[in-house]
Amino acid sequence: MDKAEQKTGLFSVATALFVRDIRLAARRSTDVFNPLVFFVIVVSLFPLGVGPEPNQLQLMAPGVIWVAALLATMISLDRLFSHDFETGSLEQIVLAPQPLTLIIFAKIAAHWTLTGLPLVILMPLVAMQMNMTTDMIYISFLTLIIGTPILSLIGAIGAALTIGLRGGGVLVSLLVLPLYTPVLIFGAGAISASAQGFSPDAHLSLLGAFLALSLTFAPLAAAAAVRVSLD
């Protein structure tokens, strides 16, 4: 096999896995909708619980949106590897003659497309209930589009480490939450800063740096974790 052929091979394997995961999710749609419905419900309950005082809601909005997005992603992590593990597909994926890091990266990309991206799209809807201004919604959009891939990437490490464990869900939360907190702080911080008239650039740059870091190392770590879990 020459170099060019090998390269197209790598690309087609990643695409095949991505398409398969999207197709599976389409036929198992409750898995996709659970986190999204959770996100909408959590944010919608705040105006009811705290009271409909617009300024107070606006003050809380960044935190509420980000916490809800973070928890919604965490609920969805369980399905990242569990179906493949239970059916034995994960063994076949590990035994593929392609770099596992790349394959896991395709899985994470599919996970983000099914969880992170819909959250970004749903956000303006729930943001209005929290009395966010258009500017705030725009910044929220930016933070979520940079931040949700980080959640999927880091979450994949936790999910890979807990493959096949009973009560893995709780363990994933414990493993992953400490790593999620910086994303939460800077994500919500960017929106608050811009609402108070400061520039959100510093926060956004830091989020970008986290994204670059997790893009580089998370697929490697998740692939290693998958191997260990199957051993």
């Binding site: 394997v13 896995l17 036929r27 059916t87 034995g88 003659p97 392609q98 770099p99």
Partner: protein, 203 residues
């Protein structure tokens, strides 16, 4: 081609296999036997590189399989206890994916394979609606579409009826005749003349 020297496997804290050596070369079939819990599955998982052995060497073409795992996996196909396909996908989608995962372009088409294994009529059903035996046959269909040299099969005859058993024996026999290698565990007595037995019970 596949050489195992002084292999020891551990499952949990329990040593299952100690100091096992054998080799399989082109056109050979190795039938591994042993009582329940003797470590047959553990051994096969070591052989295909899913688990690492506690001690000893597994080499393919004279090279330890750990040094170039991708090259080894490009020539090895594994059918485990679990069938390894997704119930929501159809037989065709599952096989297409298995082939794409292999990376290389293979000659045999998915349609021909499904016809050969008698799954053609249920090719568009989600595989969760297939019977146990049909699902097992689909897992074995993967061996054919992947076109690998070495087949490692863990209890391939489980859930197969007599007709499918004969069919599978024929497929394995053809594979061996064409210079392939096969390693399998089974409690059935095989109707294959080329087979060699290896018992891994200890003591």
């Amino acid at each position: 081609m596949l050489e195992i020297t002084n292999l020891s496997c551990v499952r949990g804290d329990k040593p299952l296999i100690e100091g096992l050596s054998f080799d399989v070369s082109e056109g050979q079939l190795l039938h591994i036997t042993g009582r329940n819990g003797a470590g047959k599955t553990t051994l096969l998982r070591c052989l295909c590189g899913l688990s690492s052995p506690a001690a000893g060497q597994i080499s393919w073409l004279g090279q330890n399989i750990d040094t170039n795992k991708d090259a080894y996996h490009a020539q090895m196909a594994y059918v485990g206890h679990l069938n390894g396909h997704q119930g929501e996908l159809t037989a065709v989608e599952n096989l297409d994916f298995a082939r794409a995962l292999g990376g290389a372009h293979t000659e045999i088409t998915v349609t021909d394979t499904l016809k050969k294994l008698g799954l053609y009529n249920s090719r568009l059903l989600p595989t969760k609606f297939l019977s146990q035996g049909q699902q097992r046959r689909l897992a074995l269909a993967r061996l054919l579409v992947q076109e690998r040299k070495l087949w490692i099969m863990d209890e391939p005859f489980v859930a197969l009826d007599t007709e499918s058993t004969t069919l599978l024996e024929g497929i394995v026999s053809d594979h061996i005749k064409n210079g392939g290698l096969a390693i399998l565990t089974s409690h059935h007595a095989l109707n294959l003349t080329q087979s060699r037995q290896l018992n891994i019970d200890r003591g």
